[in-house]
Amino acid sequence: MMLEVKSIWKTYANCSNAAVCDVSLQVANGAFTALVGESGSGKTTLLRMIAGLQVPDKGAVLLNGQQVAGGDAWIPPEKRGVGMVFQGGALFPHLTVEKNIAYGLSHLSRSERAATVREYLELARLPTAARRYPHELSGGERQRIALVRALAPKPNLLLLDEPFSNLDVALKAALREEVHSILRAKQMTAILVTHDPRDAHSFGDRIVIMRAGIIEQQGTRQTVVENPSNAYCAQLLH
């Protein structure tokens, strides 16, 4: 199993209710999982705990069988081998596209780095954008570069935090397809956080529905869509 989340809890200091309570989750190698829920359902908090950007109060996170959080185990985010695509891309505005992609490749030699950057620029279908700055790209181009930047260090697991949320409908649909095919080509294991049911339908082999910090339902796409466990799940996905 690529990822195992065991009975994980998180409560914020200024909030009486838990943001994530007793959530358990398993993601198999090569699987695409869509984590769906409304704003405040705890999906981003769960994703950030998997990434290591937040420390769980209770429970454990295991990556490839190794415990990375929980108990007295703690592996910081930069050592987990997990990639992440942020809402809005989070491209470094002071670096060119090629330097953004090369940012996570400091362990490679200069020539290897250049070759990897070229390869991923091709993958993003933006081979001529190397010298451009993020503000010179369109919204879709920025998200494609953010995706390949996260993929370039070859992470074991890719986390996508609402990567399509700031885009218009047509671009969103096209980019969704494109991201899907890139991830398939790279045989990635990925978790997508979204509040849009269309993203979940088209992306997830498995769908996990969250509400108020707990998992309402999880299963294969077909099971969750065809047999929703309650009215909330049915309403959310249709």
Binding site: E78, M84, L91, G104, S106
Partner: protein
């Protein structure tokens, strides 16, 4: 056996080098304040006497100045900020830039230029004495002296409120004003019922800064003979030689400061109320008629006249009359002292502020945040309080290390005290920049396998360079102007431009103080020009 091991692992996880460094630096910044509190408890030979005789006067004068200076700065700052932010008229850009210029004038310099106006009133005092008696003349003289002090303090301190309100007004969303218009409200009602309430946190923050500057004031009140708590500390510490009584007066000053901070915090808690105004389309300016433009120009002219043109005009005249009598080698040395001290401390302080902001970013726990916020509150603490706390602190270090007057009378002590006092000035913008600009980018860098140190150097440093420079310039201007702290802590025979000018003025050689004052003002004005441009670019982003 397992428990201690678990505890050590817990410590390894929680206590990293960033946290330890933040706690050590933060504790050092808080140490002078702690020394003041410790010192208060010791016995004081003069305290009873001070409490019975001069203390009520110190407190009353401080309160009067806070009240009247606060009131007059409102009249100077609020309308001008409103006009510059919301209306289009001939001269708007000019006022936008020039109305901040009085910030370059230290209050004690303004006091030098206003003081001799009292001499012009002598025939009036003689007339009043002959007509109504000596006590009436004394009353009249006192009222005019206090009044003049209030006008000059207000006219150089109002830019704190002007800047803060101008920024807040410019960020307000047009939809509120359009809704107000559609409900048939006049521009005056919109200002009173929509614009000003939405800018309330900025209003309180700007006014708090002014109040704290008034509490901290030494040069001008000394010159005008209006004894406040700051003046009281100097008199008690250096005149009576009673350090503990001085520390107790410093404690009372701190009480004033904590009340102001408490009120500001209470207001800040309502910040969410105005956060809605931070997004969406900004207000588009309304064009004024020619007649209204003339009126607005006249209105904006008044504070600039009082706070900048009048003092600078007089200083230029005096400098012209006295420049030949300056020993330029002395003048050059004092200038070099000021420049080097201000530049070196500004650079070191900004680097520390950058480092602390990053520590606060890495450790987002409420405890660390609160601790660092308290440790960087030095700007709220009067310079004289920090100076006496630093003297106490280094006095102890000297005594226990056996090196008499090694640290307490050194440039290191003065640099340390400046760092404590002006850390806020640099820390606040850097910390805000780190939260706003770099929040996602920090996480992105970590997720791309980079350590905190590499994230600090490769992401935060290049992105915050402009903010760092702006913070360093603000600190540089403040150190160039700083007087009470420098007077107390400077090593023997060491002069800065501020103490050099104050020394002349104190001896009645006001003309001779003009040249060093003009140098301080010129450097301050150049710095303010840059800061204003930076603020403009931040607002346009």
């Amino acid at each position: 056996m397992k428990q201690p091991l678990l505890f050590i692992r817990y410590l390894q996880r929680k206590l990293d080098i960033w946290l330890i460094a933040a706690v050590v630096i933060g504790s050092l910044l808080l140490a002078p304040l702690l020394m003041v509190f410790i010192g208060i408890a010791q016995p004081s030979p003069e305290w009873q006497h001070i409490r019975a005789t001069v203390l009520p006067r110190y407190v009353l004068n401080t309160c009067l100045l806070i009240l009247f200076v606060g009131g007059l700065t409102l009249l100077f700052a609020v309308p001008s900020a409103w006009f510059v932010a919301f209306f289009e008229f001939k001269g708007r850009r000019f006022w936008q830039w020039t109305l901040v210029l009085p910030l370059a004038i230290p209050t004690y310099v303004a006091a030098f230029t206003y003081y001799d106006l009292l001499d012009w009133m002598i025939p009036v005092w003689i007339y009043i004495r002959q007509t109504w008696g000596i006590s009436a003349a004394q009353w009249a003289e006192q009222i005019v002296r206090y009044g003049l002090l209030i006008v000059l303090l207000s006219s150089v301190l109002y830019p704190y409120l002007f800047l803060s309100l101008r920024t807040a007004f410019k960020r307000q969303q047009s939809i509120f004003f359009e809704a107000s218009r559609m409900l048939g409200k006049s521009p005056w009602t919109m200002f009173w019922r929509v614009g000003l309430p939405l800018a309330r946190p900025a209003f309180v923050a700007g006014l708090s800064l002014i109040v704290m500057e008034v509490i901290n004031e030494y040069g001008a009140v000394h010159f005008f003979g209006v004894p406040t708590l700051t003046e009281g500390i100097f008199r008690t510490w250096f005149g009576l030689g009673d350090r503990v009584a001085g520390l107790r007066l410093a404690g009372i000053m701190l009480l004033f400061v904590f009340i102001v901070l408490g009120l500001e915090y209470w207001q800040r808690r309502r910040l969410r109320f105005t956060e809605a105004s931070l997004s969406g389309a900004m207000v588009s300016r309304v064009s004024l008629s020619r007649r209204a433009s003339v009126l607005v120009n006249l209105l904006c002219c008044l504070p600039l006249m009082l706070g900048f043109l009048f003092p600078v005009g007089r200083l230029v005249h005096w400098a012209y009359l006295s420049y030949h009598s300056h020993k330029f080698s002395d003048f050059f040395v004092q200038g070099l002292h000021s420049l080097l001290l201000a530049a070196v401390v500004a650079v070191i302080l900004t680097l520390i502020a950058f480092f602390l902001s990053f520590c606060a970013k890495v450790h987002e726990g409420a405890g660390v945040q609160r601790f660092l916020r308290s440790a960087t509150l030095g700007y709220a603490i009067p310079g004289v309080v920090i100076a006496v706390g630093t003297m106490q602190l280094f006095g102890h270090v000297d005594r226990y290390s056996g090196m008499s007057w090694m640290l307490s009378g050194s440039l290191f002590a003065i640099g340390f005290a400046y760092t404590v006092r002006f850390m806020t000035v640099s820390y606040q913008p850097i910390s805000a920049g780190m939260q706003n600009v770099c929040s996602h980018l920090h996480d992105a860098s970590r997720m791309l396998g980079q350590s905190h140190l590499r994230t600090l150097t490769a992401v935060h440093w290049p992105l915050l360079q402009t903010t760092l420079l702006a913070g360093a310039i603000l600190v540089f201007i403040d150190i160039m102007k700083e007087l009470p702290l420098t007077l107390i802590l400077r090593p023997a025979e060491f002069e800065t431009l501020a103490t050099y000018a104050f020394g002349f003025a104190k001896e009645g050689q006001i003309y001779h103080s003009a040249l060093p004052c003009l140098v301080i003002i010129s450097l301050g004005a150049v710095g303010l020009f840059y800061i204003n441009r930076w603020l403009e670019s931040v607002q346009e982003r």
